[in-house]
Protein backbone atom coordinates (compact mmCIF):
# COMPACT_ATOMS: atom_id res chain seq x y z
CA UNK A 1 0.00 0.00 0.00
CA UNK A 2 2.73 2.39 1.08
CA UNK A 3 4.90 1.35 -1.85
CA UNK A 4 2.13 1.78 -4.40
CA UNK A 5 1.28 5.18 -2.94
CA UNK A 6 4.88 6.35 -3.31
CA UNK A 7 5.08 4.96 -6.83
CA UNK A 8 1.85 6.73 -7.78
CA UNK A 9 3.28 10.06 -6.68
CA UNK A 10 6.62 9.37 -8.40
CA UNK A 11 4.84 8.61 -11.69
CA UNK A 12 3.00 11.94 -11.65
CA UNK A 13 5.50 14.13 -9.85
CA UNK A 14 6.54 17.30 -11.65
CA UNK A 15 8.80 19.87 -10.04
CA UNK A 16 6.86 23.04 -9.26
CA UNK A 17 3.44 21.47 -9.73
CA UNK A 18 0.88 21.88 -6.93
CA UNK A 19 2.87 24.69 -5.35
CA UNK A 20 0.18 26.39 -3.29
CA UNK A 21 2.09 29.67 -3.01
CA UNK A 22 2.46 30.04 -6.75
CA UNK A 23 -1.06 28.78 -7.33
CA UNK A 24 -2.34 31.44 -4.96
CA UNK A 25 -0.48 34.09 -6.94
CA UNK A 26 -1.92 32.71 -10.18
CA UNK A 27 -5.39 32.97 -8.71
CA UNK A 28 -4.90 36.73 -8.62
CA UNK A 29 -7.16 37.31 -5.63
CA UNK A 30 -4.52 38.92 -3.47
CA UNK A 31 -3.63 41.30 -6.26
CA UNK A 32 -5.75 44.34 -7.10
CA UNK A 33 -5.63 43.09 -10.67
CA UNK A 34 -7.42 39.78 -11.09
CA UNK A 35 -5.67 38.46 -14.13
CA UNK A 36 -6.76 34.88 -14.22
CA UNK A 37 -8.46 34.87 -17.59
CA UNK A 38 -7.74 31.48 -18.88
CA UNK A 39 -9.68 28.85 -20.74
CA UNK A 40 -9.09 25.15 -20.38
CA UNK A 41 -5.97 25.24 -22.51
CA UNK A 42 -4.69 28.72 -21.87
CA UNK A 43 -2.24 29.01 -19.09
CA UNK A 44 -1.54 30.49 -15.86
CA UNK A 45 1.57 32.13 -17.12
CA UNK A 46 -0.46 34.79 -18.88
CA UNK A 47 -0.73 36.51 -15.49
CA UNK A 48 -0.79 40.25 -15.20
CA UNK A 49 1.03 40.40 -18.46
CA UNK A 50 -2.26 39.96 -20.31
CA UNK A 51 -3.43 43.23 -18.92
CA UNK A 52 -0.06 44.83 -19.46
CA UNK A 53 -0.04 43.54 -22.99
CA UNK A 54 -3.56 44.77 -23.62
CA UNK A 55 -2.53 48.18 -22.43
CA UNK A 56 0.48 48.04 -24.69
CA UNK A 57 -1.68 47.11 -27.66
CA UNK A 58 -4.09 49.94 -26.93
CA UNK A 59 -1.21 52.41 -26.71
CA UNK A 60 0.26 51.05 -29.90
CA UNK A 61 -3.04 51.28 -31.73
CA UNK A 62 -3.58 54.70 -30.25
CA UNK A 63 -0.38 55.92 -31.83
CA UNK A 64 -1.64 54.87 -35.22
CA UNK A 65 -5.20 56.13 -34.95
CA UNK A 66 -4.66 59.72 -33.87
CA UNK A 67 -5.52 61.70 -37.00
CA UNK A 68 -4.34 64.96 -35.49
CA UNK A 69 -0.88 63.68 -34.67
CA UNK A 70 1.71 65.53 -36.73
CA UNK A 71 3.21 63.34 -39.40
CA UNK A 72 6.67 64.43 -38.35
CA UNK A 73 6.16 62.91 -34.88
CA UNK A 74 5.13 59.56 -36.34
CA UNK A 75 8.09 59.29 -38.63
CA UNK A 76 10.46 60.43 -35.91
CA UNK A 77 9.38 57.66 -33.51
CA UNK A 78 12.28 55.30 -32.75
CA UNK A 79 12.02 51.63 -33.66
CA UNK A 80 10.50 49.73 -30.72
CA UNK A 81 12.92 47.78 -28.56
CA UNK A 82 12.71 43.99 -28.99
CA UNK A 83 12.01 43.89 -25.26
CA UNK A 84 8.80 45.83 -25.71
CA UNK A 85 7.56 44.39 -29.01
CA UNK A 86 4.10 42.87 -28.56
CA UNK A 87 3.72 39.37 -30.02
CA UNK A 88 1.63 36.26 -29.44
CA UNK A 89 3.03 32.93 -28.33
CA UNK A 90 1.44 29.56 -27.42
CA UNK A 91 2.71 26.42 -25.72
CA UNK A 92 1.09 23.28 -24.45
CA UNK A 93 2.97 21.32 -21.79
CA UNK A 94 6.30 22.46 -23.22
CA UNK A 95 9.60 22.14 -21.39
CA UNK A 96 11.09 25.43 -20.25
CA UNK A 97 14.14 25.20 -22.57
CA UNK A 98 11.78 24.91 -25.57
CA UNK A 99 9.76 27.86 -24.29
CA UNK A 100 12.91 29.96 -23.92
CA UNK A 101 14.14 29.02 -27.41
CA UNK A 102 10.83 30.15 -28.85
CA UNK A 103 10.88 33.41 -26.88
CA UNK A 104 14.40 34.10 -28.17
CA UNK A 105 13.46 33.49 -31.80
CA UNK A 106 10.05 35.16 -31.66
CA UNK A 107 11.14 38.32 -29.90
CA UNK A 108 14.81 38.41 -30.92
CA UNK A 109 16.02 38.75 -27.32
CA UNK A 110 18.60 37.06 -25.11
CA UNK A 111 17.60 35.31 -21.88
CA UNK A 112 20.08 34.89 -19.05
CA UNK A 113 20.35 33.10 -15.71
CA UNK A 114 18.37 30.10 -16.93
CA UNK A 115 18.13 27.54 -14.09
CA UNK A 116 20.16 24.37 -14.46
CA UNK A 117 17.08 22.25 -13.94
CA UNK A 118 15.10 24.11 -16.61
CA UNK A 119 14.07 20.85 -18.25
CA UNK A 120 12.13 19.89 -15.14
CA UNK A 121 9.69 22.77 -15.64
CA UNK A 122 6.80 22.43 -18.07
CA UNK A 123 4.51 25.23 -19.15
CA UNK A 124 1.21 25.57 -20.89
CA UNK A 125 0.58 29.12 -21.88
CA UNK A 126 -1.13 31.50 -24.19
CA UNK A 127 0.54 34.88 -24.06
CA UNK A 128 0.22 38.08 -26.01
CA UNK A 129 2.55 40.82 -24.89
CA UNK A 130 6.21 41.75 -24.71
CA UNK A 131 9.22 39.61 -23.85
CA UNK A 132 10.21 41.52 -20.71
CA UNK A 133 6.78 41.06 -19.10
CA UNK A 134 6.59 37.43 -20.24
CA UNK A 135 9.93 36.50 -18.65
CA UNK A 136 9.07 38.44 -15.49
CA UNK A 137 5.80 36.56 -15.24
CA UNK A 138 7.45 33.17 -15.80
CA UNK A 139 9.87 34.10 -13.01
CA UNK A 140 6.98 34.87 -10.71
CA UNK A 141 5.23 31.61 -11.47
CA UNK A 142 8.26 29.32 -11.37
CA UNK A 143 10.30 31.14 -8.76
CA UNK A 144 13.19 31.58 -11.21
CA UNK A 145 15.36 34.69 -11.66
CA UNK A 146 15.87 34.88 -15.40
CA UNK A 147 16.65 38.17 -17.05
CA UNK A 148 16.10 39.35 -20.59
CA UNK A 149 18.14 41.72 -22.71
CA UNK A 150 18.50 42.89 -26.26
CA UNK A 151 20.97 40.82 -28.29
Amino acid sequence: MEKSRIEFIARHYRRGAFDSRRAWLRLGIASPIAWWRRGKVAAAVAAGAILTASAAILCYEGLHTQPEAPEQQQTAAPAPSPLKAVKAIDFTDAMLPAVLREIRSTYGVEIHNVPENAASYRLTLHYEGNAADLVATINEILGTEMTVSEP
Binding site: R11, Y13, R14, R15, A17, F18, A23, W24, N117
Partner: protein, 169 residues
Protein backbone atom coordinates in the same frame (compact mmCIF):
# COMPACT_ATOMS: atom_id res chain seq x y z
CA UNK B 1 -15.41 35.03 3.77
CA UNK B 2 -12.47 37.39 3.87
CA UNK B 3 -9.53 37.19 1.50
CA UNK B 4 -7.28 36.19 4.38
CA UNK B 5 -9.62 33.36 5.43
CA UNK B 6 -9.89 32.20 1.85
CA UNK B 7 -6.11 32.25 1.39
CA UNK B 8 -5.68 30.16 4.53
CA UNK B 9 -8.14 27.55 3.29
CA UNK B 10 -6.64 27.64 -0.20
CA UNK B 11 -3.13 26.94 1.07
CA UNK B 12 -4.36 24.23 3.43
CA UNK B 13 -6.45 22.38 0.85
CA UNK B 14 -4.81 23.07 -2.51
CA UNK B 15 -2.34 20.16 -2.51
CA UNK B 16 -4.62 17.49 -0.98
CA UNK B 17 -7.38 18.49 -3.40
CA UNK B 18 -4.85 18.29 -6.20
CA UNK B 19 -3.95 14.76 -5.13
CA UNK B 20 -7.63 13.83 -5.01
CA UNK B 21 -8.12 15.14 -8.56
CA UNK B 22 -4.92 13.45 -9.72
CA UNK B 23 -6.21 10.08 -8.52
CA UNK B 24 -9.33 10.58 -10.66
CA UNK B 25 -8.02 12.18 -13.86
CA UNK B 26 -4.47 10.81 -13.78
CA UNK B 27 -2.89 13.94 -15.19
CA UNK B 28 -1.01 16.54 -13.16
CA UNK B 29 -1.78 19.58 -15.32
CA UNK B 30 -5.48 18.77 -15.57
CA UNK B 31 -5.68 18.14 -11.82
CA UNK B 32 -4.12 21.54 -11.15
CA UNK B 33 -6.58 23.21 -13.54
CA UNK B 34 -9.58 21.49 -11.96
CA UNK B 35 -8.62 22.53 -8.43
CA UNK B 36 -7.88 26.07 -9.55
CA UNK B 37 -11.25 26.30 -11.28
CA UNK B 38 -13.01 25.00 -8.18
CA UNK B 39 -11.40 27.69 -6.03
CA UNK B 40 -12.17 30.40 -8.57
CA UNK B 41 -15.77 29.27 -8.63
CA UNK B 42 -16.21 29.28 -4.86
CA UNK B 43 -14.44 32.61 -4.54
CA UNK B 44 -16.84 34.12 -7.05
CA UNK B 45 -19.68 32.88 -4.84
CA UNK B 46 -18.43 33.73 -1.39
CA UNK B 47 -15.61 36.18 -1.85
CA UNK B 48 -16.73 39.02 -4.00
CA UNK B 49 -20.00 39.57 -2.18
CA UNK B 50 -18.68 38.80 1.28
CA UNK B 51 -21.12 35.92 1.59
CA UNK B 52 -20.61 33.23 4.20
CA UNK B 53 -18.56 30.19 3.26
CA UNK B 54 -20.26 26.77 3.18
CA UNK B 55 -20.50 25.28 6.67
CA UNK B 56 -18.05 22.47 5.89
CA UNK B 57 -15.72 24.21 3.46
CA UNK B 58 -13.40 21.24 3.10
CA UNK B 59 -16.16 18.78 2.23
CA UNK B 60 -17.68 21.32 -0.14
CA UNK B 61 -14.37 21.74 -1.97
CA UNK B 62 -13.88 17.99 -2.31
CA UNK B 63 -17.34 17.70 -3.86
CA UNK B 64 -16.60 20.64 -6.17
CA UNK B 65 -13.34 19.05 -7.32
CA UNK B 66 -15.07 15.70 -7.82
CA UNK B 67 -17.64 17.40 -10.06
CA UNK B 68 -14.84 19.21 -11.91
CA UNK B 69 -13.13 15.87 -12.54
CA UNK B 70 -16.33 14.37 -13.92
CA UNK B 71 -16.79 17.33 -16.28
CA UNK B 72 -13.16 17.07 -17.35
CA UNK B 73 -13.40 13.35 -18.13
CA UNK B 74 -16.60 13.91 -20.08
CA UNK B 75 -14.97 16.68 -22.10
CA UNK B 76 -11.96 14.51 -22.72
CA UNK B 77 -14.31 11.77 -23.90
CA UNK B 78 -12.85 9.13 -21.64
CA UNK B 79 -16.04 7.53 -20.39
CA UNK B 80 -14.16 4.36 -19.55
CA UNK B 81 -12.30 6.30 -16.85
CA UNK B 82 -15.52 7.57 -15.38
CA UNK B 83 -16.95 4.99 -13.05
CA UNK B 84 -20.71 4.86 -13.35
CA UNK B 85 -21.09 6.02 -9.79
CA UNK B 86 -17.94 7.90 -8.86
CA UNK B 87 -18.50 7.98 -5.11
CA UNK B 88 -18.82 11.16 -3.15
CA UNK B 89 -15.54 11.87 -1.41
CA UNK B 90 -15.58 10.27 2.03
CA UNK B 91 -13.18 10.33 4.96
CA UNK B 92 -11.11 7.48 3.53
CA UNK B 93 -10.57 9.28 0.24
CA UNK B 94 -9.76 12.53 1.98
CA UNK B 95 -7.26 10.69 4.15
CA UNK B 96 -5.70 9.14 1.03
CA UNK B 97 -5.41 12.60 -0.55
CA UNK B 98 -3.76 14.02 2.54
CA UNK B 99 -1.27 11.15 2.69
CA UNK B 100 -0.49 11.61 -1.01
CA UNK B 101 0.02 15.31 -0.33
CA UNK B 102 2.56 14.53 2.38
CA UNK B 103 4.51 12.31 -0.01
CA UNK B 104 4.42 14.99 -2.73
CA UNK B 105 5.77 17.55 -0.27
CA UNK B 106 8.45 15.13 0.87
CA UNK B 107 9.58 14.55 -2.74
CA UNK B 108 9.67 18.33 -3.18
CA UNK B 109 11.86 18.60 -0.10
CA UNK B 110 14.41 15.95 -1.13
CA UNK B 111 17.88 17.24 -2.00
CA UNK B 112 18.06 17.77 -5.75
CA UNK B 113 20.38 14.86 -6.57
CA UNK B 114 18.47 12.53 -4.25
CA UNK B 115 15.17 13.50 -5.91
CA UNK B 116 16.64 13.02 -9.36
CA UNK B 117 17.80 9.51 -8.50
CA UNK B 118 14.48 8.66 -6.84
CA UNK B 119 12.51 9.78 -9.90
CA UNK B 120 14.80 8.01 -12.35
CA UNK B 121 14.18 4.84 -10.39
CA UNK B 122 10.49 5.08 -9.51
CA UNK B 123 9.15 7.17 -12.38
CA UNK B 124 11.41 6.20 -15.25
CA UNK B 125 11.94 2.61 -14.14
CA UNK B 126 15.73 2.67 -14.44
CA UNK B 127 17.84 0.17 -12.51
CA UNK B 128 20.50 1.28 -10.04
CA UNK B 129 23.18 0.31 -12.57
CA UNK B 130 21.52 2.37 -15.30
CA UNK B 131 21.14 5.40 -13.01
CA UNK B 132 24.76 5.13 -11.91
CA UNK B 133 25.93 5.03 -15.50
CA UNK B 134 23.65 7.88 -16.56
CA UNK B 135 24.79 10.16 -13.74
CA UNK B 136 28.41 9.02 -13.55
CA UNK B 137 28.03 7.80 -9.96
CA UNK B 138 28.90 4.56 -8.22
CA UNK B 139 26.11 2.03 -7.78
CA UNK B 140 26.54 2.21 -4.02
CA UNK B 141 25.98 5.98 -4.09
CA UNK B 142 22.77 5.44 -6.03
CA UNK B 143 21.65 2.79 -3.54
CA UNK B 144 22.42 5.08 -0.60
CA UNK B 145 20.49 7.94 -2.16
CA UNK B 146 17.52 5.66 -2.78
CA UNK B 147 17.56 4.46 0.82
CA UNK B 148 17.67 8.07 1.96
CA UNK B 149 14.78 9.05 -0.33
CA UNK B 150 12.56 6.15 0.67
CA UNK B 151 13.31 6.71 4.34
CA UNK B 152 12.26 10.36 4.12
CA UNK B 153 9.09 9.49 2.24
CA UNK B 154 8.13 6.84 4.78
CA UNK B 155 8.77 9.35 7.55
CA UNK B 156 6.46 11.77 5.77
CA UNK B 157 3.76 9.10 5.62
CA UNK B 158 4.03 8.33 9.28
CA UNK B 159 3.89 12.01 10.29
CA UNK B 160 0.58 12.81 11.85
CA UNK B 161 -0.20 9.15 12.42
CA UNK B 162 2.09 8.47 15.34
CA UNK B 163 0.41 6.97 18.35
CA UNK B 164 -0.32 9.67 20.90
CA UNK B 165 1.70 7.99 23.64
CA UNK B 166 5.00 8.10 21.77
CA UNK B 167 6.07 11.44 23.26
CA UNK B 168 5.93 9.84 26.71
CA UNK B 169 8.15 6.87 25.87
Amino acid sequence: MTTREFEKEFKRLYLPLGMYALRIVGDTSSAEDIVQEAFISIWQSVGADGAEAPANFKAYMYRAVRNGCISHLRQQKHPEELQPDLPQPDEAEIDTSERDARIWQAVDALPERCREIFLMSKRDGLSNDEIAEELGLSVSTVKNQMVKAMSRLRDALSTGHRPFFLPFL
